[in-house]
């Protein structure tokens, strides 16, 4: 009887040990993997928000269409990401970062064509940052499922960046940089010219005072 119990216990222990060491499912993801999962998730949420904003507020079809594409593709990416994060026990933030929300708000504050210009620029920046982080995950990540997500996301984000640059190219390179409306910092050469004009006036004033002084002297 004791022999049977012993065997059963050993067998049970073996089964338990096997389960514990069976698969990566129970291993903790690296900091790099976890950081990327959270950042990619927030990036997806930010892109979905930006895509919705574009469809609502864009002046040009380019931006509206890019917006629709971003909503669809980042929703797909996020639907692949969320189960992996859950399996790995990585808690995902509920929304985009404060900075991402701030940036979208700044874009949404623009009107008309200015919205489109601002949206394209902000999206180029966001996708560059996302792609940079994803490249880093591919190089430095450990968990195979996270690496797979990063490898799958890379061409998608690259394509978005490429489309954004195409859209930006239609505006051409900057032809002017209007960077000052106050005049408070106007340089010395202008101030000298300013004094020059005032100087003539000052001379006239002095002459007038001198003339009136002479007249007063004459009257005395």
């Amino acid at each position: 009887m004791r022999h049977l119990i012993h065997t059963a216990l050993v067998t049970a222990a073996l089964v338990v040990t096997t389960v514990l060491t069976a698969g990566p499912a129970l291993a903790a993801p690296s900091d790099q993997d976890a950081t990327w999962l959270r950042a990619a998730h927030q990036g997806n949420l930010a892109e979905i928000a930006a895509g919705n904003a574009a469809q609502q507020s864009a002046t040009t079809a380019d931006v509206r269409n890019l917006g629709a594409m971003f909503v669809q593709m980042h929703t797909d990416l996020d639907n692949q990401l969320k189960p992996v994060a859950q399996q790995l026990g990585v808690a995902l933030p509920g929304g985009p970062t404060a900075q991402q929300q701030q940036q979208l708000a700044a874009v949404q504050g623009q009107r008309g064509q200015q919205f489109d210009t601002a949206w394209i620029a902000q999206q180029i920046a966001a996708h560059s940052t996302t792609l940079s982080a994803t490249q880093k995950e591919v190089q430095a990540g450990s968990d195979q499922r996270v690496l797979q997500l990063a490898r799958a996301a890379t061409p998608v984000v690259q394509q978005h960046l490429s489309e954004l640059r195409n859209a930006a190219q239609k505006y051409g390179g900057p032809r002017s940089v209007p960077a000052g409306t106050g005049g408070q910092a106007a340089d010395d050469s202008f101030r000298t010219a300013g004094w020059g004009v005032a100087g003539v006036g000052a001379l006239m004033l002095v002459a007038a005072v001198a003339m009136s002084a002479r007249r007063r002297a004459t009257l005395r």
Binding site: Q103, A106, Q113, Q114, T117, A118, I120, A121, Q122, I124, A125, A126, S128, T129, L131, S132, A133, Q135, K136, T154, Q158, L161, R165, A168, Q169, Y171, G172, G173, P174, R175, S176, V177, P178, A179, G180, T181, G182, G183, Q184, A185, A186, D187, S189, F190, A193
Partner: protein, 151 residues
């Protein structure tokens, strides 16, 4: 496989003005670079090169001053000398140093397009206004361009 992509810049530091916020900006239909209203916030031309890219001129621009907000930190560009260090931090937390090589004033119509080139050696251009101010048009006569190379 793919050339490494650099994260977007988020802050610029001059020798006497640290951590000026940088936001991505683009070109309006008029051809003008769209700049943030406040002179304290600078714009990075996002469709151009990024600071830290292997090629091209990364352009950061900002208002010298504003009718609404007054003068800004870029008034300090006129104090810069060759060899002074400018520092850019990107969204991934990476900081990069650039060493000033020139400061040039151009009448606005003569602003060279090559300031915005995406090819060529990696450099940084910080652009603002300068020269005589036309009060009626609320506009400066010149663009001031500070060029710097990776340090």
């Amino acid at each position: 496989m793919t050339p490494p992509v650099v994260a977007a810049p988020v802050a610029l530091s001059l020798p006497d003005a640290t951590d000026l916020p940088v936001v991505p900006v683009g070109v309006l239909p008029s051809g003008a670079l769209q700049l943030p209203d406040r002179p304290t916030v600078l714009g990075w031309f996002a469709a151009g090169a990024a600071p830290g890219a292997q090629a091209g001129t990364a352009v950061i621009a900002g208002h010298l001053d504003s009718a609404v907000f007054g003068p800004g930190p870029l008034v300090r560009l006129s104090n810069l000398r060759v060899g002074d260090v400018l520092q850019l931090t990107d969204a991934a937390g990476v900081s990069r140093r650039f060493s000033v090589v020139s400061r040039t004033s151009y009448p606005k119509p003569a602003l060279p397009p090559e300031v915005f080139r995406r090819d060529g050696p990696p450099r940084l251009a910080v652009v603002t206004c300068g020269g005589a101010f036309d009060a009626a048009r609320r506009s400066y006569a010149d663009n001031v361009v500070v060029l710097a190379v990776p340090a």
